[in-house]
């Protein structure tokens, strides 16, 4: 009987745990500066690829594997994040990021279609560990300025920078 209750509890708890790791995403209507209209499909693709980039970032920083940043991050964003991961690895630490909320708005689509800028008011948890020992845990609310550029089949993050709120 107890075994059955445990199994049922686990069955209920697993999806809840999985749901708890999914960030809440709000998307505001675009407030574009720029002359190029933004199609709905483009907006959806940009947001999908950006949220995917957070998953890559989480894995890369937790496992200290900069190669996991590709292909979601390119250019300067990739170089900076990869350098940080290398520094972490040398110090024997790693970082767990868990994004909780994203409040997104596309604010610029360059006239030639080569870049899209987005503001993300993001809430995330950051946990720094020395091997398995937790050194610090903090919940952070900040504002990211993100620039994405198109590659072959997706939008990749080229600038990824927390800005003053």
């Amino acid at each position: 009987m107890i075994k059955r209750i445990l199994v049922m509890s686990c069955a209920l708890a697993l999806p809840l745990a999985a749901l708890a790791d999914q960030p809440t995403v709000q998307v505001k209507p675009p407030e574009l500066q720029g002359s190029r209209p933004l199609e709905k499909q483009t907006e959806a693709a940009v947001i999908r690829d950006y949220l995917q980039s957070w998953k890559s970032l989480r894995s890369a920083f937790d496992l200290n594997q900069p190669e996991l940043l590709s292909p979601d991050f390119v250019g300067t964003a990739r170089e900076k994040l990869a350098a940080t991961i290398d520094q972490q690895a040398k110090l024997g630490i790693h970082t767990r990021y868990q994004d909780r909320t994203h409040d997104l708005q596309i604010v610029f689509y360059s006239p030639e279609g080569l870049s899209i800028q987005m503001i993300d008011n993001v809430g995330y948890d950051e946990q720094v560990l020395d091997h398995d020992k937790i050194l610090a845990t903090k919940r952070i609310e900040t504002r990211y300025v993100v620039v994405l550029t198109p590659s072959d089949v997706r939008w990749s993050v080229r600038i990824f920078q927390a800005a003053a709120k």
Binding site: T84, I93, F108, P111, E112, V128, T137, I140, V147, A163
Partner: protein
Amino acid sequence: MLIGLALAAVSMAPAQSVHMSLPPSVTAGSAFSIPTAGSGKAVLYIVGQGQAIRRDVQMGEATMFPAGALYNAGEYLAILVNGASTESAGFYVSPAPQPETLGFLAKPSRLPVGIRGGISGAVYVFDTYHNLITTPLPVSLELANASGTMQSHTITTRNGVAWTTMDSAAKEGPAKFVARIAGVSSTRVIDQVPGDPCGLTITARPNNGKVTVQTAPVHDCSGNPIPDGTIVTFTETYNDQQSTVDVPIKQGIARVDMPAYPGAKISVASGVVAGNEIRWGGGK
């Protein structure tokens, strides 16, 4: 989930005594220090998405970070590890205020003359450490044509970016598209080429049993000569038979010899532009 539990645990823990003082914010690349209180040795970590730094600390002294030590903008955690106890606090590193490089996207690299709003430029402004400077800054965008005419716009950046559109000139030739801010500039060259032919006309004359058909000098609507090599198509129609000859422009004109059928109609076109049509009257 794990992080959430840890956060809950941290929030329930009794308040720790404060052993370090953080600056409210730090400018990227600038020197700063973190004073500590107490005694003994400790380790100070500065960890963010932009950098991870470790320093051995003598408690009771200030830990100095020289200029250039912390240079990537973003949110950071300072973590002081003193034996079994740890203390942490967050702080923000802002971009340096002085622009150093520009990311200048200009399109297209080549376009016909006389296109209103046909040239666009978007400028991203970075500091020396390639942080995007998000405070508003005026950016000058200038398009200078070979003929000396210039268009100039000054745009204030928003979230680190400024953009504009310019018209291509009436005269063909290269144009310099320059983005400039506080002594930093970036240049792109835009090649302005003639537009489609305009007023395409042909004349014909007999030539040893054939007819020589020749265009007048081919220009666009602004008077720019159409470049040599551009294809002009001559079409001759006679008794429901049609023959077509493609000829490249050479020294400004296109010329071809065609069979001289009395009553044949000869027309000319280049791309989507059609010219005049003549009826060959047998020597007329």
